[in-house]
Symmetry: C2
Subunit: 463 residues, 2 copies
């Protein structure tokens, strides 16, 4: 996978070395000689990965990393720290500053490339989610700028798959204050528990007695529910090949055994944050769609959705030969409410009316605000007699309900006029069905309002 | 990357061999012993990749592949044919049946894994797009079931990057009937032309005189505009390493030099189809968002979008200290139109009115249908005098325009009442701005309609 990589180091020879290695693997490389230039170039070029030297004069790697993570426009870019230090404390400091991983100088080529590939792949997925979020933003759908680094991870759900009792206990004890952690020692149950548990991160030991932990991990990743759950393998320090293979296959991170609890906590935190960030981007999409089909005021379906659904429902009724009916209702003298009390009160009335309608129909029925003060209910599996009954129920409910409004006005009394039509046997169309209900409604209005009218000739043509 | 792979072969030994190789690389494997079982398992398990033997009794691999590609629920799953045959004709037959590539028996492990990884990666991207499309479908946003195999590729745009004049001419001649093909022989221009050209597929020779074709390909893939454009490299038959490296890096396909035109056509077709399929999934998303912010009847922005935008515009005006104004207009006696002529005519009037409004304002202004027969225009960088002028222009335009409607009615004369407010200097809010315009509108109504009213005290508080 192609990528643009920013290499940051104050020693030109180090930059040249890394640049040569990365270019040899067909990556595009840009460089910076200190933290300030690094921040500038990260913002300007939005690279896919940053390799960041720790020991630099002026602003060191930790501080540079922290500043990158504070900036929501670049906080999603993975950072790998390159350092001559290799104490657990340094690693934890770096992870807490927001780094994704460490590479120790002198750099091992296999480890470098495994990490680069793995992070570039993760970055590509995030980019895809960000792009679609941005599409929404550009078209004006509100999306809050999210910072991947500041997502709250407290109380996130972890699954630990490990049959080493002592080690498991240590991990459970060490993580319990920040995370809700569940433990599976019987590997046979692991997959099902993982699939059912809505976890934010899964830890798998590669030292399981009966099973290859890496294979179990990969098997989990083929499942739809687990595809986007970050997976961390716990690997014996000697098992470098398993670690490299894991990264190649799509494991998100690893930690060496015996586990240092601070390091594990920091790594889990990084993974959970990224998942939360991705979840947030995805839920924006769900909201966008929900907005597209919902009437903003009443929460009922909107006219657009109604039209689509009406077509489908008519098609289905015609295929199965089952009845269906449509009800249209309109608030009597609604204009007076708006003109007398203002739109705010009018809106309150509509919201309340929406609730009355929804409370009077079955769950299979579909209620929509058709526009203004007009509502439509589609009723599958319903003949005109049943539909007329339902319409009358709604009419009475409205008549009997005092509409409490927030202004000093107190309560309003309102009525509705209702038209009902039902699908005819031969060659009927959604448009005709709607039109007949609308005409019936109009007759109700002409005839004195506060009444239910059935579409003319509905019986004689009902077949 | 983890994946579920379906291996289809009528010879158990072949299945076992492939299964062992794939399992060794941590893939999940399911198997089928003939075309019928293959179709059944493909539908049931929706694997990420299918390795399909060509020579099978009953239904051979070509036919099985064709049947898979006819089924929209599985047509997006990549198929690699495994065959003892290796004539160009067989390859073309397979490609035309919908296969993505060929592996020749005895299977070369490196070639197998390179192809598997490459296709699994492509499949993961498609899955992501399909999932988000499905989210829309589940929430009722209409999306047509698309078959990736039957996307129309005629007239698609190709870019050929090759400085071999004779070879280029052959390719141009051979492809011109099906595709619009552009040729670049000067490599320096290639990137810019590729970025500007909105191509559906790019062919790059790895035999360029001055440049490493694979590096150029990877460099193109780092560009936003080219990330999702399929890239086919043309590789000398001897350069197996370049081909494998290309697949590893994310090149979509390759073809051996000297190019067989039928094979190249078939491979280009496969890539372009996949791109068109991805484009279709993406444009569904754009439509969904567009629906979410647009008033279905008039095509103006809807109330929800207006609210969001109003907040942003107020914030910006307050930050910059620049003026902004809001106009609200409402059709006079609109209820009469609906009651007398029906909603269809009412709707026609609203559509026409929307056009008059949009035709009377600047492109920086934002017009929205606020609800019913009420419209709002937000005007950035506009003080109340300018806004009042614009409001008066709209009022006059409406007064002078005969509203032609499709019924036998002919033409209607209509007027609008308009309220105008503008953002005050200190502590003003979107809500207050809107309310003042609304109150001014109400005064206009009380005062005899067909007039523009400015919000009271607007001057004295304007600061």
């Amino acid at each position: 996978m192609s990528a643009l990589i920013l290499v940051v180091d104050d020693t030109p020879a180090n930059i040249m070395l890394l640049e040569a290695k990365l270019t040899n693997e067909y990556y595009d490389v840009i460089t910076a000689i200190d933290g300030f230039e690094a921040l500038k170039k990260a913002r300007e070029f939005s690279p896919d990965l940053i390799l960041l030297d720790v020991m630099m004069p002026g602003m060191d790697g930790f501080e540079t990393c922290r500043k990158m993570k504070e900036d929501a426009s670049i906080s999603h870019i993975p950072v790998v720290m390159v350092t001559a230090l290799n104490s657990v404390e340094d690693r934890v400091n770096g992870l807490q500053a927001g780094a994704d991983d460490f590479l120790t100088k002198p750099i091992d080529d296999a480890a470098l490339m495994a990490r680069v590939k793995s992070l570039v792949r993760i970055k590509a997925l995030i980019d895809e989610l960000r792009r679609r979020d941005q599409t929404g933003n550009e078209m004006g759908v509100p999306g809050q700028e999210k910072n991947s680094f500041t997502m709250d991870v407290h109380g996130s759900r972890l699954l630990l798959i490990d049959d080493d009792i002592i080690q498991s206990k240590r991990i459970l004890d060490g993580m319990a204050s920040r995370f809700v952690i569940e433990h599976v020692s019987k590997v046979d149950d692991a997959l099902k528990i993982a699939q059912d548990g809505a976890f934010d991160c899964i830890l798998v030991s590669t030292q399981l007695t009966d099973v290859d932990g890496l294979r179990l991990s990969m098997h989990m990743k083929t499942k739809e529910e687990l595809r986007h759950v970050p997976l961390i393998i716990m690997v014996d320090e000697e098992e470098r090949d398993i670690m490299l293979k894991g990264l190649e296959l799509g494991v998100n991170d690893y930690v060496s055994l015996p586990v240092d609890m601070n390091e594990l906590t920091a790594r889990v935190q990084t993974q959970v944050r990224r998942k939360k960030y991705q979840d947030a981007l995805k839920s924006n999409y769900q909201q966008t769609i929900s907005m597209a089909i919902t009437d903003g005021l009443t929460g009922l379906y909107n006219r657009h959705f109604l039209s689509t659904h009406l077509m489908n429902m008519v098609k289905q009724a015609q295929t199965t030969g089952r009845p269906m009916s449509q009800v249209i209702l309109d608030v009597d003298h609604f204009k007076r409410v708006n003109d007398t009390y203002g739109h705010d009160v009018g809106d309150e009335v509509l919201v309340k009316l929406g609730k009355i309608i929804v409370g009077s129909i079955r769950s299979a029925d579909l209620a929509a605000r058709y526009g203004g003060e007009e509502f439509v209910v589609l009723m599958p599996e319903t003949d005109i007699i049943q539909a007329a009954d339902a319409a009358e129920r709604i009419r009475i409910a409205v008549e009997k309900t005092p509409f409490k409004v927030s202004h000093a006005i107190g309560e309003l009394s309102l009525t509705v006029s209702v038209g009902v039509s039902h699908l005819r046997k031969d060659g009927d169309t959604p448009h005709e069905l709607h039109k007949r209900a609308d005409e019936a409604l109009y007759r109700g209005k002409q005839n004195g309002r506060n009444q239910v009218q059935l579409a003319i000739n509905e019986y004689s043509n009902a077949g």
